[in-house]
Subunit: 375 residues, 4 copies
């Protein structure tokens, strides 16, 4: 290509690179390439942007669109063939890494009564949020947990885990959330199939909830050294009750209404090192203000209907819909009901951003904190 | 006294001091005293004991003995005169520091409906455990908490606090627990009376419970930097329920049955830096094994009846009785009922022992782990 | 393309996805694409690899190759045009993100006496390792540090910083190391030019070394809350002396000889949250064993000559050469001298791997721990 | 005694106890005593003081007074008889616990060339500061350290340790500092004589200094999980050099001149959990301002001469003298030379005060921060 350009990122700003191609320079650049090197000034403005510009785009996935496809997968492939029957969310800007947004993977998995996935473990961390059906369960390192709609469960990195639906249950669909793209990017992805394809349940069912799910109380005996929450399962009912109680004594967040983080009860920190999760309640008629921050978020509508505005575009949502907010994009939420609350479950990589001092946040200053809808 | 002896602690063991008085040495010792000095070998075996020997003695305080005296105080002194109408527990071995055991103070306080103590703060940390009555409340730095029987509440060091009983309540009696003797020993005791003798309630009543009392959930907004639990109040009902749930999935501790620590939900650690608290359930017919550890404990019987054996002596207890276990004394507990559980509330200085690497523990090896009752 | 395939990643292993394309399935996949979704089983084996396979390749950059190009840049571009005159290392597998390896950027920067770069700050973290010349200095948030060959200095994220060479110095070349690719990948890159293009030196020169560079001692007065090492500069002379002293009392690491991490003296942890650095000494004739671990490393030869074997390929190095080891590739090092030690400076992203529980390590089991050279 | 009084602590201040004895009340109090109980209002003002009033008194121990007695002990008792030949400092207010001040023990120990104390361990933590002689050494868990004048060494709780002087050394005297009184008060004192009365040196001599005594560097291999500093020995020469360097870039503390804490290089925290140590330099002619804080301090004059004012009393000191400052007493220091610096070594229980949130500090407000000398 005779017209190759090297000076495409130049900026005419003091302190920024601003070098125009000349024949001598171009020859110099070509010479450098032989030594696996280049001139920084040609890429400096590209790799040192003034502020983040996400490769992801905001997307809303309607449950009514996806549900039938998810259910059809049951007829199309067996669990043995597919490993897991999952339809994953594929952000147009992140198809190279199969991410729903940023470095987060998400998919909708279906399972029929009596089915179970084979047990495996991986260096990725995972979570599930139950969308419909009864009888679902997850086993983590011998701890079996039964799951109902809107329950949230962890399958952390390094743990043997498997999912299933009991014989007396109904067809179940849940959302999976994983940091697979991130762990792959970090070149630290390991995967192992359990030698028996299935693990024994070696603890009483739901023992983690009985041991660790008591507010302000901790067993004297049970030690826990693993770097994630021992609670593993967070049920919907006490979560909704917690938000309702908390709502009575707080004005809430201007950006998120009544919002709580799921936590590791032993540290007060996030449930896992690479992914956190939250549940928020938008009060009847609530319209929050816009802010933006680094880090990516995937939301699922746990209750109610409304809309969110993300970088100037409106996304209408109803129960079970999923949408994402890419890094450093303004977002605000609106409860569409004037009489009932709406609840949004979300998971995100904010624990990574905070652990590495990369969390930045900014409120929208103009227009009383509300975005102009441009799309 | 012409026959003063200096060699009273000598031991005939290799590595221990074993110096007998001689006229020359005695003169040498007397000379040293002029310079505020002494010979270590005369006290070495005293100040470096082979193992701890507590100055405290085990004591059981029967509620039926003390209750009438506590109630009589109402007729004998006014709150204004007395500051607080409290009968304190005075261990025979610790009367010089007014301690119930070790460095822990405890007393029984009474208050009539409509009464309130004046607001104050101190560098000591305090807790209360409600014994009887309705309408009790505590205010801590503007947070008001309502309290019922077996509820446990913190008034940490440095916090303005006051106690009262509402007009529509009944006469209330509660146990106070403080580290006053310890803080005095550390020569760090400060005390201040609130300038208005009373503080304003600036938060919604019981807000701390709504904000921090949700298992596995934490408000995103509320930051807390103070070195003690933000939960402040721990109610009896969810505590008893937690023990009951936990009992289903654990064999329990051989020494304590079903035992849980009250915790700071933001750290998983003790409720305050100098005092921890626990609740334990002895299952019907349970007889635990004996162990001993450093640190002092004060128990109150929250439910049921039974007995404990402390250093070979049996102490029978029933609901509301209080007893103490001094440092490094063997102790085991017996539920007197074969059909109902018994519950023991306790508070202790184990957080101090652990923070300073002074916690040691030992199981009784002989007699299948059970003490021979010698008294 | 009429022959598009979806089943290219299938594996015939229990627990892995193994679904072959059928016309019905292909139609199903195409339908899903309309909804920004896909079937997991088509990508599962790709995104859940059995173990990491780095996109980077091992590279050695010879200083004798690059030095003349670095020096020529002085004639080709002005500091004002270029921002900084830097030749960056461009790994063949990572040219899309301008990385030397993994998510790490590195470049060689040159500066003439009397020159100074404009002051700026960014959310990326940076470090410099001086290669040649005298009179170099760096200013970080008002702290000026003078630098000589093999000195190592931090310019952490969020700090205003600038580099220069004093009038009485000589032409200086140093290696820059930054986490720019990582911070961009995390979509958290911010950049700011100092309003005055230069900052005032507001502390005594080299004050950080005097305050924090004393072994086992810490000023009582100086508080430091920032999330990186206050020491900022690590000089060559005491570092080499430290390795020499340490060598006297240790057998060293089988994989790295005598190796020490640069640390934050207030935490004992890495110098910055996203990048760590180490210096290691290979004793005369030393040939280490091979191991591999997650995380990427960039080495610079600070002293001596020898070679390293990386994934079966031999790379010969001499003083000032730079080479990289991608994630999960076996590597071992050989000192080429039988009489003198050799020293390797390195920086890496191991603090990220450790903070997020993604650090895995494995020794080479075969051939007495030594690789077979295949290239 | 017919005239026993109970109301001796009453105060006529709102919020304080102010109850006068009456025959009825006295009978009530006597009844309570039968049940190991008492009325709080009789002791409340005693046990809840407005501010700390130390039981210790300030004392200065002149080395010229004590040295001959220390040396004479060699003729008076054998090491086998005495265990250790130590003259301990016995504060007039703390003779019941053999403390030099507060809960800190201190003594001067002498040893002749070729002598060694028997190896032992205890739950108390200890430190030594060498005063005179050559050839002293300490062994801690197999690590042998050689010691010269003004060197400071740790023998932490739980570690086997022994002291000696080599055959080719001279008579050595050092100061011992221990938390024995505190550990006894906490009823956690354990003591063990080494089964062989002596332990093997299993590491290279002074290995800890070579491994951990390098500023800003940490061996990658050596892990350390013990709750105290791995450095163990802190030599005088680098300490003095550190103070001199630090003095160039700081104004110093108004209360302490140029002061640094000895630290654990792995945490930046104190050398042991219960005792910290510091070294400070008073510049020529320096006269610091007065402040007071909770916690007790023992000083030894490492260099120079001058005086300190403690609670209004002047104490003149010269090299090797020892003096103490009790909790919450104002103190200020004066270097007696206008040409040379003076250095004070000190150890204290401030780590305890800080860990338990009991550290309080106050500057003297009056008289430009200087005390009026009243004694």
């Amino acid at each position: 290509m005779t017209t190759e350009r090297y000076d495409i990122y130049k900026e005419d700003v003091a302190g920024r690179a601003n070098v125009s191609d000349t024949p001598e320079l171009v020859q110099y650049y070509k010479d450098l390439e032989k030594f696996e090197a280049g001139a920084l000034w040609n890429v400096a403005n590209k790799i040192e942007p003034w502020e983040p510009k996400s490769q992801s785009v905001p997307v809303l996935w309607r449950y009514q669109d996806l549900r039938e496809y998810v259910l059809r997968s049951v007829d199309l492939v067996t669990p043995e063939q597919a490993g897991r029957r999952v339809i994953y969310l594929n952000n147009p800007g992140r198809q190279d890494v199969s991410a729903a947004v940023g470095w987060l993977y998400s998919g909708l998995q279906v399972m029929h009564p009596g089915e179970a996935a084979s047990a495996h473990s991986h260096s990725s961390s995972a979570l599930r949020f139950i969308m419909e059906g009864s009888g679902a369960y997850t086993v983590v390192d011998g701890h079996k947990m039964t799951l109902g709609a809107n329950d949230f469960v962890l399958t952390p990195n390094g743990a043997w885990h498997e999912h299933g639906v009991s014989e007396d249950g109904t067809t179940c669909i849940w959302q999976d959330g994983l940091d697979i793209p991130f762990v792959n990017a970090m070149e630290a992805g390991f995967y192992a199939v359990h030698p028996d394809l299935s693990q024994a349940v070696t603890f009483p069912v739901n023992d983690a909830s009985h041991i660790w799910g008591n507010p302000g109380l901790k067993p004297v005996l049970h030690d826990w050294q693993k770097p994630y929450s021992p609670l593993l399962k967070y049920e919907w009912e006490p979560t909704y009750e917690a938000l309702s109680r908390y709502a009575k004594v707080t004005d809430g967040s201007p950006y998120d209404g009544i919002i709580m983080d799921y936590t590791n009860p032993l540290t007060g920190g996030p449930v896992m090192a690479t992914m956190g999760a939250s549940m928020q309640m938008l009060r009847p008629g609530e319209h929050t203000k816009a802010h933006r921050h680094t880090g990516s978020i995937i939301y699922q509508v746990a209750k109610g209907h409304g809309y969110s505005i993300i970088n100037g575009k409106r996304f209408d949502w109803r129960e079970r819909d999923i949408f994402c907010v890419p890094s450093w994009m303004f977002h605000e939420h609106v409860n569409g009901s004037s009489s009932d609350d709406a609840c949004l479950f979300s998971f995100h990589d904010l624990p990574v951003m905070r652990a590495l001092n990369l969390y930045y946040e900014e409120a929208l200053a103009d227009n009383d904190g509300h975005q102009i809808i441009t799309e």
